[in-house]
């Protein structure tokens, strides 16, 4: 469900990352007291409308929730089973709206801007000797390497399928883990080659 940055120059791209994150935070609190069907539906319409303001390419990005639909289905069915269809619809609408809103922020915000915006939140970690810069770098790495790891898994599947005619197997998990660990070595080396997580100027202090 991590969809990457969408190049553009829209109003949403220009909005400071911090403003967007605070908006997401406030809205996610608001949905707790406003526990009604119409509010949840309106929220979802509003969020989809945000995508629409980015144009056709933006609206396309709504598809990001597709892999989550089965989970939404289960959540809805659990509510039906418990005899509360309305709550089921509200739960699904809310989840969709919040996932889409969070995704809207990630497609319209540079990783770097997002990192700078969340860095202050990690400051308390300094007490434990963890630099906030490292934490935000880790977040960037996760987002960067999800598509890379998916590609690695796809190539393993291909190699497996070429010899067994099956596309998937639990047997692929161990080699996948090994590939991922090997990759962390390479990435760590590349990061070290450019001054490491803390950079050059920070040494002097």
């Amino acid at each position: 469900m991590i969809s990457l940055y969408m190049a553009g120059n829209s109003w949403a791209h220009k909005l400071p990352a911090r403003v967007k994150l605070i908006f997401l935070f406030v809205l996610s609190l608001l949905i707790i007291p406003f526990n009604t069907l119409w509010f949840s539906a309106a929220l979802l319409v509003f969020v989809v409308a945000l995508y629409a303001t980015l144009g056709r390419q933006g609206l396309e990005k709504v598809k990001v929730v597709r892999p989550l639909l089965w989970m939404m289905g289960i959540i809805f069915l659990v509510h039906v089973f418990l005899g509360d269809i309305e709550q089921g619809i509200i739960a699904v609408l809310r989840l969709l709206a919040m996932v889409l809103l969070a995704n809207f922020i990630s497609i319209t915000t540079h990783m770097e801007a997002l990192m700078d915006a969340v860095e202050p939140l990690f400051r308390p970690l300094r007490v434990f000797g963890i630099s906030p810069r490292r934490v935000s770098l880790a977040v960037a790495l996760v987002i960067r390497f999800v598509p890379v790891l998916l590609a690695v898994y796809a190539s393993l599947q291909e190699a497996y399928k070429a010899r067994t005619a099956h596309a998937n197997s639990w047997r692929l998990l161990a080699p996948f883990a090994l590939h991922a660990i090997k990759m962390t070595d390479h990435v760590a080396e590349a990061l070290t080659a450019r001054g490491g997580a803390d950079g050059f100027d920070r040494d002097k202090k």
Binding site: A7, H110, E112, A140, P147, V148, E189, G195, F200, D201
Partner: protein
């Protein structure tokens, strides 16, 4: 004597990698602008060049890179030596090219706004401004490798080390990237199996079993390497078949 500020000097250098000595007692001075490094897989080429950036420490002897001694620490070496790896997917840390380039500048203490302006300017100089905002995983292999090279160059290293960076690229892209390298002011150390690509270089260094086998002008070293490696190829495979 050569000007040490523009020279790489290995003096009886040994380098260990995960406990075993890969490079043993190697001495050579490299004042030339363009140096190629050749040798078999596993001969120690990668190990040797990794010491220049401080990625691997020198276990014996002394190493001087553009006036910086290995004893001054890995970070000092990393500041003078830019390193481009074989696989761009291991080197690109950020989701977009612009962030990748800015990262290098921010590493050396440039402010956020300036870093962005300078990164855009460099992309524009190379006619790829439009790639700046695209997610890197959507770029072609050649574009990715160019971004890797630019992300290193933007930090203005004095020496650029390339460890088989073009091995997964097509001929056209290789030639295009090589031409870009030719124009650079930096000293270049190029580890490669493409022997023809090194024929225009100033010098070629041939490494075998962690030792210096031959060092000289490309015409001599490349010819000797080819003759040495191709004689007995059949014999070698006979040996494999029997085993």
């Amino acid at each position: 004597m050569n000007d040490t500020s523009k020279t790489i000097n290995f003096d009886h250098v040994s380098i260990e990698r995960s406990g075993s000595t890969i490079i043993r007692d190697l001495s050579v001075a490299l004042p030339d602008q363009r140096v190629g490094i050749i040798g078999r897989n596993g001969s120690g080429k990668s190990t040797l060049v990794r010491s220049l950036n401080g990625l691997l420490p020198v276990s014996a002897g002394s190493l001087l890179v553009h006036g910086v001694s290995a004893e001054e620490g890995a970070k000092k070496l990393a500041r003078v030596t830019g390193f481009v790896f074989q696989n761009p997917d291991h080197q690109l840390i950020f989701p977009t090219a612009l962030e990748e380039l800015s990262f290098g500048l921010r590493q050396i203490g440039v402010g956020k706004a300036d870093a962005k302006v300078q990164s855009l300017a460099l992309l524009r100089d190379h006619g790829i401004e439009q790639l700046g905002e695209r997610p890197v995983h959507e770029l072609s292999e050649g574009q990715k490798q160019l971004i890797c090279i630019l992300a290193v160059l933007i930090m203005e290293p004095k020496l650029l080390v390339l460890d088989e960076p073009f091995s997964s690229l097509d001929l056209r892209t290789r030639v295009a990237l090589r031409r870009k390298l030719e124009k650079l002011d930096q000293q270049i150390l190029f580890v490669s199996h493409e022997l023809d690509a090194l024929s225009d270089y100033d010098k070629v260094l041939w490494i075998e079993d962690g030792k210096l086998k031959q060092f000289g002008v490309p015409a001599d070293v490349l010819a000797a390497y080819q003759a040495h490696e191709l004689s007995g190829v059949d014999l070698h495979f006979e040996g494999v078949a029997r085993a």
